[in-house]
């Protein structure tokens, strides 16, 4: 099971999904209406490390986080 968390202003509870890579997550979220505004401008981390490829393999217990635009300070 993969846990998907939505950080900061994204008003969405975490998901628990049976997926094998980020491509499968992309497909699921693209079909989720309230996620559309966030897909373009959010970064993705797996186990708290930012990733840059959809091929990224996921294994049971991994945590995926979605990070919308930031503004600290």
């Amino acid at each position: 099971m993969i846990r998907v968390e939505f950080l900061g202003p994204i008003q969405k509870d975490a998901l628990e999904l049976e997926i094998n890579n980020l491509s499968e997550l992309a497909t699921i979220l693209q079909e989720t209406p309230e996620m559309r505004e966030w897909l373009e401008n959010s970064a993705i981390a797996v186990n708290d490390t930012l990733v840059s490829t959809l091929d990224f393999p996921l294994k049971d217990g991994d945590k995926v986080s979605m990070l919308p635009p930031v503004c600290g300070g």
Binding site: L7, E40, A43, P69
Partner: protein, 145 residues
């Protein structure tokens, strides 16, 4: 040294503590950057969410970059609500020489603004409104679009 505080920062106390911590470390230059909530756009204050696991990794990478220049960095940031004219952010560089410190504080603060996993909200009329228009998409965003 990265520390998250609930609410506004006590700037004088934090600067005093950091200065004293390094008083015998033989750094010739100390440059803090202090960010304070401005009264603008009719806000009552700002509020912050922080995702600490990634913030800590980001900070650790900057600690390594600082170390490579014989410098060190310290940072404090607020979580939750911070009212007008209170401060929410202090970053500081200590280094043996001034050029390293002057360049490092600039790079560090700019990357902080672009990369640190912190989300800002305007406090206005009792609401907490995400400051999307002042926010920056982290490098690599849009991967799932």
């Amino acid at each position: 040294m990265l520390k998250i505080y609930n609410g506004g920062l006590n700037v004088a106390d934090i600067l005093k503590a950091w200065y004293e911590e390094e008083s015998l470390s033989n750094y010739g230059a100390f440059i803090p950057f202090i960010g304070t909530i401005r009264d603008e756009d009719g806000i009552d204050g700002l509020s912050f969410d922080i995702y600490e696991p990634i913030l800590e990794k980001w900070f650790k990478e900057w600690q390594e970059k600082a170390k490579a220049k014989n410098a060190i960095i310290k940072m404090a940031h607020s979580r939750g609500d911070v009212l007008l004219h209170q401060s929410s952010y202090i970053a500081a560089v200590f280094s043996p020489k001034r050029r390293v410190a002057l360049e490092f504080i600039d790079e560090f603060v700019e990357d902080f603004k672009a990369s640190a996993p912190i989300w800002k909200y305007d406090l206005k009329n009792g609401q907490r409104i995400y400051a999307l228009d002042r926010s920056t998409a982290i490098k690599g965003s849009g991967l799932l679009a």
